[in-house]
Amino acid sequence: MSPEVVRPFPDSEEMEISFGPQHPATHGVLRVMVKLDGEKIIEAKPIIGYLHRGTEKIFERETYNGAIPHTDRLDYTAAATNNQGLVGAVERLMGITVPPRAAYIRMMLAELQRIASHIIWLGTHALDIGAQTPFFYTFQEREKILDLYEDYCGARLTLNCMRVGGQPFDLPTGWTERCREFIEQFPARVAEWEGLLTNNRIWKQRTIGVGVISAADAIEWGLTGPPLRGSGVKWDIRKVFPYDHYDEVAFDIPTGEHGDTYDRYLVRMEEMRQSVRIVRQCLERLPDGPVLAKVPKVIKPPKGEIYFSVEGPKGELGYYIVSNGEANPHRMHVRPACFINLQALPEMVRGYLVADLIAVIGTLDIVLGEIDR
């Protein structure tokens, strides 16, 4: 696994530094206490909670639809998939079937969100480890996705774009054409970014063999999403427990081999292409019909408990809802992908250099809004 910690100067003193919480490379308010021997990391201890807003406590007094805007603010770079998890959980708890048109709209919004989230990851991750250019190119594309969201629901970041039982709105006129226009030109952009990075010598030096985690360790540490797939485990909630209509569209799960930062980079790049593939199929198959099922005015699920998860851009995002039969949940717990993925950070950086810590934080693609909740 991680290289053996060999102390170059056996009598040198260890140094402990606090990295963050206001350091731009920590992607938010993450603080890592790093114990160093020179440049080598002996131990890293993430300290979190700076963004804790008590979301799970707030859920308990909200109605189910009223909780959706709060989910936007968990992983604020991927509001659509957060919404999708919550409404999916409530629908399964109540036995609601979503009209197919609504399900397809959801899938499109979720896949565009995955692309948008991966775009932020790529831009900032590359920026962190010294490649400035991709940042400017990637954000141009993200802007186009946000425009599509703005057309659909008026919001660009905190979308609140799904409801229990379906979608709040039908697609506006011309949306499908604009969406198609975007996805047709997008693969060329991905190729352009890959041209900047994939064979870039500096990029490879900074990422290959950095933050390695084996497949068995990745499962042990509960990693999900691209960090798990980068270690070679072919596992994706969209395939394992398909929701919406993911079982009707064709897409592949990219996996890496070595479980290092470079493989996770390749996995995410391929995921963007697969998401384009899914959106294209959704546009082709998009059925007509209503977008909202017949749901009661007041959403009151029966007594019971449910866990439902979606494949978010960061990993498995799950909602565990305990209902009392009332209009607000007795307990609603979020299984955050970033929180669990971050836990493996000390394991992934032990024995590497401080500069590699930056690369590993970037490759885990964490969002503190979801970690701290």
Binding site: K57, G222, P290, Q343
Partner: protein, 205 residues
């Protein structure tokens, strides 16, 4: 999907698509015979106190004394290598124990999930499962932080989302939703435990 029945309008109403019907909620059923439950019962004696299946998800209620054995057997012998989630639920008034601690496991080979549930009273210590699944470390810290449930044998049971010295456990039902005055940790004489500045004490010094 609409307007299908136009061809034969005189026939008795065609069945409506499921999204136009009133939703039929799932009902709980006894799951003692369920294969996922039976294999646990076969491995660990007295492990299954109750088993329910609801909405396609199986829940096994395990006595607290058997929890470590059940988790160990699930991980090592039943291939539940992946602990997906660990959380707790507060039932403040419940006589048979205030908290549910919920473990949600996954096994990759068969793509199956199973929920373990332990009912414990306030102040009772549960064995930590960090020795079984490493991923449980932060999850148990979160449950400790939010509910004040102690996990014996945890390597580092500290608060994780709130800060050291925070007063109370926010997800308990008796913790006020508007929060407490967080000065309590720093000025305990001005802000008494349980929240709010002292009424008669006047302005904080």
């Amino acid at each position: 999907m609409a307007d299908e029945p136009k061809v034969a309008p005189q026939e008795p109403a065609a069945p409506k698509p499921p999204w136009e019907e009133k939703p039929v909620p799932p009902v709980p059923a006894d799951a003692r015979e369920h294969p996922q439950v039976a294999e646990i019962a076969a491995l660990v004696p007295d492990a299954v106190a109750e088993a329910v299946s609801f909405a396609g998800q199986v829940t096994v209620v395990v006595p607290a004394a058997r929890l470590a054995d059940v988790c160990r057997a699930c991980k090592d012998r039943l291939d539940y290598k992946f602990l997906v989630d660990l959380t707790a639920v507060d039932w403040k008034e419940r006589p048979e124990g205030r908290f549910d601690v919920v473990y949600w496991m996954h096994r990759h080979g068969k793509s199956q999930r199973l929920r373990l549930k332990v009912r414990i009273a306030d102040g009772v210590e549960l064995p930590s499962v960090t020795g079984i699944w490493k991923v449980a470390n932060w999850m148990e810290r979160e449950v400790f932080d939010m509910f004040g449930i102690y996990f014996g044998g945890h390597p580092n049971l500290e608060r994780i989302l709130t800060w050291e010295g925070f007063n109370g456990h926010p997800l308990r039902k008796d913790f006020p939703i508007e929060g407490i005055d967080t000065g309590a940790a720093i000025y305990p004489d001005v802000y008494p435990p349980g929240g709010g500045p002292k009424k008669e004490g006047g302005e904080p010094a």
